[in-house]
Subunit: 333 residues, 2 copies
């Protein structure tokens, strides 16, 4: 049995999303147990509205406070000691939960997880890693925004953590790793990238050299490593472009009676297309490098997306990702 | 009459693309005159294959060398003094052409243009700026890869150059400018971004604060400013995602006889959709900050895309972009 603590108050929609997602996750995996953390009365009320049998593997844990989506991390850490986010992480620390999941404010979650759980030995700072869809399935990319101005040594740690995570979660013996740059030739890039490349070449990683950001979606490598600023830029630019494409396609299908009819006829193809690229399936970024498993859901996740984040937490616990990073880190340097 | 020098040998396809594009540009604009630069015999042969009347406003200018797409910039500058790229820029320097266009190697073009033309007074380094499609039309973004590790003062110069370019090319009196960051709150980002924000706040720019990379495609501002590393990451991630989406959509429509039929029925809607987002319409990035107008076409441009790059050069000459940057730079600081 894997026990996951769920911050039920976090995210743009709070319990409206998280509670239904938690019930779905329990229905999907009979080996899962959930601690639903937040205002008890509010959560019980939400559970009652669902009109579905609630598995006994769900326990509501009270937390009197909520961290705001825009609240400064330092303030959340200082003033919100009984927040649903903090209690979720505390449950991981105490061992009552094997992992924690939150759709709350990323900065506050990272600060809280670092403060309560601490980083693994040999890891200077945790990173955010997520799977992203690619032409050949998916790749993993890190850091996606936890660290700016990462020095070469930190980029090497990201590469090792990403490689070990993919090794166990995806069952690949030697995941290929590349460094994000603005060209593939040796002379390209800034000094930090060049020094990081040197460290990776000398490591035991399956290091493949530089890639440009379009390679994320080609799927040529298993792990793409970058500073958190660049990772966030790549991710957000992709989100913005995907939203614009969706919006413009809707407008085109909505132009006239004829185009609406074409839209109707195209529905099965478009649905199959959307399923293959469904960003909800990729929801659930890992705060890797901590002494424990913490998964960050997108703030705007719907119940399906949040359910995927819970299942990702379970998968990482089952595959003992933090334990393997601890054991294999030194050998990879 | 505007005279544009065209590096006919540059790009992935060389004269196969550039020559037809040049003829199309002349057909579209009777006020345009072109100097087609490259191996004379090769270009005349290509012109003969077109089977279209060649306007008299086209002159072939011989250049005996070609810069390779992967050739190191320093080597191109030293050893290729009669390259089509170098001769193109020389024609701008001598005043025989008002602007130059090349689909060649970006690094070599930037190095050649800087060496031959020099930067405008008060500009430390040129930047690459391009229009990108957005929900509300398009925005301009810079730097797209010419400069890595740009200090705050350079980011301010980028902002001013972008603002002046948009003011004259788009006829907007006070273009709105934003700085690319990984969050919109003041505490987000690295030190360079924070110091650049301070400089922009104190300037006469219509500065709107930070945006995240998804805002590029929302079109909330006219100019997005960033370091060249981040600009290149945003651009390449977008290119990669767009290619993946196109590829997967083709696969879905190609799945069976039925889906191919649906694809056929959807063709007019998809074509209208593609026209609105056609990246070829956005081909032609400006090397801004030089004493002259130089436009970089995407290396893989087809004739339509390369024709747009030539027309972009003409538009910037007509709107006297370098002259306005020279005149208005100091007042904007």
């Amino acid at each position: 049995m894997v026990t996951v603590a769920v911050d039920a108050m976090g995210g743009d929609h709070g319990p409206d999303t998280t509670v239904a997602a938690a019930v779905s996750a329990l229905e999907l995996d009979p080996g899962l147990q959930l601690l639903l953390v937040g205002e008890e009365a509010r959560l019980n009320k939400q559970l009652a509205t669902l009109d579905r049998p609630i598995p006994e593997r769900m326990t509501v844990v009270n937390a009197s406070q909520t961290v705001g989506m825009d609240e400064p991390p330092a303030q959340a850490l200082r003033n919100k000691k009984d927040s649903s986010m903090r209690v979720t992480i505390n449950l991981v620390k105490s061992g009552e939960a094997d992992a924690g999941v939150s759709a709350g404010n990323t900065g506050a979650l990272m600060a809280t997880a670092r403060f309560v759980l601490k980083t693994l030995p040999g890891i200077d700072r945790p990173a955010i890693v997520s799977a992203l869809p690619s032409l050949r399935g998916h790749i993993h990319m890190l850091d996606l925004g936890a660290n700016v101005d990462s020095p070469p040594e930190l980029l090497l740690q990201f590469a090792i953590m990403g490689s070990i995570l993919v090794k166990y979660v995806e069952n690949k013996s030697r995941p290929s790793v590349a460094l994000l740059n603005i060209g593939v030739e040796d002379i390209k890039g800034n000094d930090v990238v060049k020094r990081a490349a040197e460290l990776m070449r000398r490591s035991n990683l399956n290091y493949q050299g530089y890639v440009e950001a379009d390679a994320i979606y080609n799927g040529d490598v298993d792990v793409v490593v970058c500073d958190g600023f660049d990772g966030n830029v790549a991710l957000k630019a992709s989100e913005g472009l995907a939203q614009m494409i969706t919006h413009i396609m809707r407008e085109e299908y909505d132009r006239s009676l004829l185009t609406r009819l074409v839209g109707l006829i195209s529905t099965p193809v478009m649905r199959s297309f959307q399923n293959r690229l469904d960003h909800r399936r990729y929801n659930g970024a890992t705060l890797v490098g901590l002494r424990g498993t913490v998964i960050k859901s997108h703030g705007s996740a719907d119940p399906l997306a949040f359910c995927y984040a819970i299942l990702e937490a379970r998968t990482e616990v089952q595959n003992k990702v933090p334990e393997h990073i601890s054991e294999e880190l030194t050998g990879m340097m």
